[in-house]
């Protein structure tokens, strides 16, 4: 590995802290790196919890007519699984990665508003705990505790006082509302940081694509989280002040909630996938040893997605009986999103084309992303064909589609990111051999579960059913799917073990293990509190390439 002696090098300080000191320094910290880490770690913990729930779901569905859990318990499981995965895994991953990496990549010392940053994290965590407190307090005063069981998009009027008694639904709404405030805070922070704190020379055209994507992502969050929060506020007012926004008995509209939720909900799925886009745009070039292909197109595509995705929400509502015109419009808009997304996939491939690809686990996860996300997107197109969706809607085909996007896409992307930056964060390399186990088990288990589930959809299996009859043609499919879930559990366990093991025994990484090109590799691993001793000055989008190849630097071509 070409290790370079670098002007920004400076001595590491290693002084021993007492436990209480360490604890205090973490709780009271406003350092963007520590906050970023805390985001990612809490997201991983929630991933294990929600994943374990998914495993229980799969065990219940493994055989027809089985009695692993009671009907209500099952409904709570998928509600909490979905809500957790979206709001307590996906969202903190956005905040975590952008918090840790954006300042490093733009050569800044910290985020624009460090204290607001800390506020964002703690209020997010509080929201998450509030949601899980429903297991204790959800029954309402005196009632036996219970989690919400209304599904992750909580359609009205199932959420009204009449149909969901107790306080479970209130915890759901409050938890999401509160953590949503946190996400908005960190989004504003990311935007202000990228706009105002870039190091000298880093014009927008020289800014790493990772930062670009996170910028657009934060913009999306600012636009689409408020609608959700507004809807949650209305819901809470319906339940406690007796207003009638979604009270069908009093003339309120059940469909209005769906509009409000999906105005948030669809862009949200891009908010979730963008970190993966961002990560791929950094990892693929470095491991292909080529600059990103079509930089401008890549940025343009992300911006395009950021705008088009605001106008497609009702493709989740093809079955509520909209007019032919709105159905057609939303079908068209949904398919159009495929175009910029395609541009991204093509450019990543073109980046690899003609390169010299080194298959570390990070890069393998990137390739897995490309193939699985392709499938996910194409099934998305099928769903966008409204007449086809009348059949597929709320069937297991949809479940398969979005797990391809969320695991094959989001999670694989995040995995790549974690294998890529773990050395920077910890100073240790993750074990590659454990990595391979983690990778192959995950890919195989994932396809066992979700490839098969597409066909359950074709055979008329609706989602969110806690049991099914043996003679509807669904049993074999569900059995295979459940076995796959166990395999995935082992895979995730491998990852957890890899992290813990490598933190202790991992081989030291050095500052620049992958021979990278962006500024974070120009400081030590782990970076010091102040990131850079002297703020760097850049002249191209690959400052470290310029540094390592003085004879033909990038800025000559840009």
């Amino acid at each position: 590995m070409a290790s370079i002696d670098y002007p920004l090098e400076y001595p590491r300080e290693d002084k021993a802290y007492s436990f209480s000191e360490t604890l205090y320094s973490w709780v009271a910290t406003v350092d963007h790196k520590r906050l970023g880490l805390m985001y990612v770690v809490s997201a991983l913990l929630f991933l294990v919890i929600a994943g374990a729930m998914a495993v229980v779901i799969r065990l219940q569905l493994m055989f027809p007519e089985s009695h692993v859990v009671a009907p209500d318990t099952f409904n709570r499981l998928f509600t909490m699984h979905g809500t957790t995965m979206v709001f307590l895994v996906g969202m903190p991953m956005v905040a975590g990665f952008s918090n840790y990496l954006v300042p490093l990549m733009i050569g800044a010392r910290d985020m624009a508003f460090p204290r607001m940053n800390a506020f964002g994290f703690w209020i997010f965590l509080f929201g998450g705990l509030l949601l899980y407190f429903s297991y204790i307090g959800g029954g309402g005063l005196g009632g036996a505790g219970s989690a919400p069981d209304v599904g992750w998009f909580a359609y009205a009027p199932l959420t009204s006082k009449a149909f969901s008694r107790g306080a479970a639904t209130d915890y759901w709404a409050l938890g999401i509302l509160v953590s949503g405030v946190g996400s908005i805070a960190s989004a504003i922070n990311v935007i202000a940081t990228t706009v105002s704190l870039r190091c000298p020379g880093m014009t927008l055209s020289k800014m790493p694509i990772f930062v670009w994507v996170m910028l657009v992502d934060s913009w999306l969050i600012l636009i689409v989280l408020p609608p959700l929060n507004a809807a949650q506020i209305m819901l809470l007012m319906d339940r406690h002040l007796g207003s009638n926004f979604f009270e069908t008995q009093a003339g309120g509209s059940a469909v209005l909630w769906q509009h409000f939720f999906w105005i948030f909900g669809h862009p949200e799925v891009y908010v979730l996938i963008f970190p993966a886009f961002a990560i791929l745009s950094e990892v693929i070039p470095v491991f292909s040893r080529k600059p990103i292909f079509g930089r401008a197109a890549m940025v343009g595509a992300v911006v395009a997605i950021g705008f088009i995705s605001l106008g497609v929400w009702a493709h989740h509502m093809f079955a509520v009986g909209m007019t032919a015109w709105s159905n057609t419009f939303f079908a068209a808009a949904s398919m159009l999103v495929g175009v910029p997304t395609g541009i991204k996939i093509f450019n990543w491939t073109a980046t690899m084309y003609g390169g010299r690809i080194r298959y570390s686990t990070a890069m393998m996860y990137c390739c897995a992303f490309l193939l699985h996300f392709l499938v996910a997107g194409l099934t998305g197109i099928m769903l966008a064909v409204a007449p086809f969706d009348w059949q597929l809607h709320d069937s297991y085909f949809v479940v398969a589609h979005f797990h391809y996007t969320l695991i094959g896409g989001l999670v694989f992307g995040l995995m790549a990111g974690m294998y890529y930056w773990f050395p920077k964060v910890s100073g240790k390399l993750l074990s590659e051999s454990l990595g391979k186990w983690n990778f192959w088990l995950f890919v195989i288990g994932f396809n066992m579960t979700f490839f098969t589930l597409h066909f359950a959809g074709f055979l008329g299996m609706p989602r969110r059913i806690y049991t099914y009859a043996p003679d509807r043609g669904w049993d074999t499919i569900n059995f295979i799917a459940s076995v796959g879930a166990l395999v995935q559990a082992v895979a995730v366990a491998c990852f957890a073990w890899n992290v813990l093991y490598s933190l202790k025994k991992g081989e030291p990484a050095g500052d620049d293990p992958w021979d990278g090109w962006t500024l974070e590799w120009a400081t030590t691993s782990p970076p010091p509190e102040y990131n850079f001793e002297r703020l760097p000055v850049v002249r191209s989008s690959r400052p470290l390439w310029d540094l390592k190849h003085p004879q033909d630097p990038d800025w000559k071509y840009e």
Binding site: A112, A187, V195, N244, V537, D546
Partner: protein
């Protein structure tokens, strides 16, 4: 050495001409943007439910247009500008004067809203749970009023510290941002006013 030069070549010139927007400015602008998104949903809900109430009282029967309050709030946008302008010129006296005027105008608006609600609730018996009109009216107008209140609190804080002799001109940026927020609250009122008191009736 060579590497070093590449990276730091003409660094000085670059660093000198390297100016980026004020982070606080960016922050406040995007805060206002998400606030707008929040309001737009409540406005949308109001528009959707216009004329959908199953039982009375209906807007046309009970709502009378708050001319005075509106004038006050809108003109407060001007006065806050004058105040901030004065501060930029470092004329503390004029600043204090216009600042206090702004606060009075804002106060008038809040009082007017309070009285309107009192009338609606006690005389017209329109509560949030009466019908869809009530359900959408109170949250929308209330959300705006709450923003005015927050603005008022900050205005008062600034006034307090100024009167206590704190050199407010050192905080010109913050005062400026506060005035922007106040303009935003006014702009929102224009929308709310048109939707509730013109289209809605």
């Amino acid at each position: 050495m060579a590497d070093n030069d590449v990276l730091t070549a003409d660094a000085l010139t670059l660093e000198q001409h390297w100016a980026l927007p004020d982070r606080g400015k960016v922050g406040i602008i995007f805060l206002i943007i998400t606030e707008t998104a929040l309001f737009s949903i409540f406005v949308a809900a109001y528009l959707v439910y216009i004329g959908k109430s199953l039982v009375g009282p209906y807007p046309k029967d009970v709502l009378d247009v708050p001319i005075l309050a509106t004038i006050c709030l809108l003109s407060s946008s001007l006065t806050v500008y004058l105040a901030e302008h004065a501060l930029s010129k470092n004329e503390l006296g004029r600043f204090k004067f216009w600042w206090i005027v702004t606060i009075c105008l804002g106060l008038e608006f809040l009082v007017a809203t309070g009285l309107e609600w009192k009338k609606l609730i006690y005389e017209d018996h329109l509560t949030i749970s009466t019908n869809l009109f009530g359900s959408t009216f109170y949250p929308l107008v209330g959300l705006h009023a709450s923003h005015v209140t927050v603005g008022m609190i900050f205005l008062l804080i600034v006034l307090a510290v100024t009167l206590m002799g704190f050199p407010i001109q050192t905080q010109f940026r913050r005062v400026l941002f506060l005035s922007w927020y106040w303009h935003f609250v006014d702009a929102v009122w224009v929308v709310v006013f048109t939707v509730v008191y013109i289209i809605g009736r």
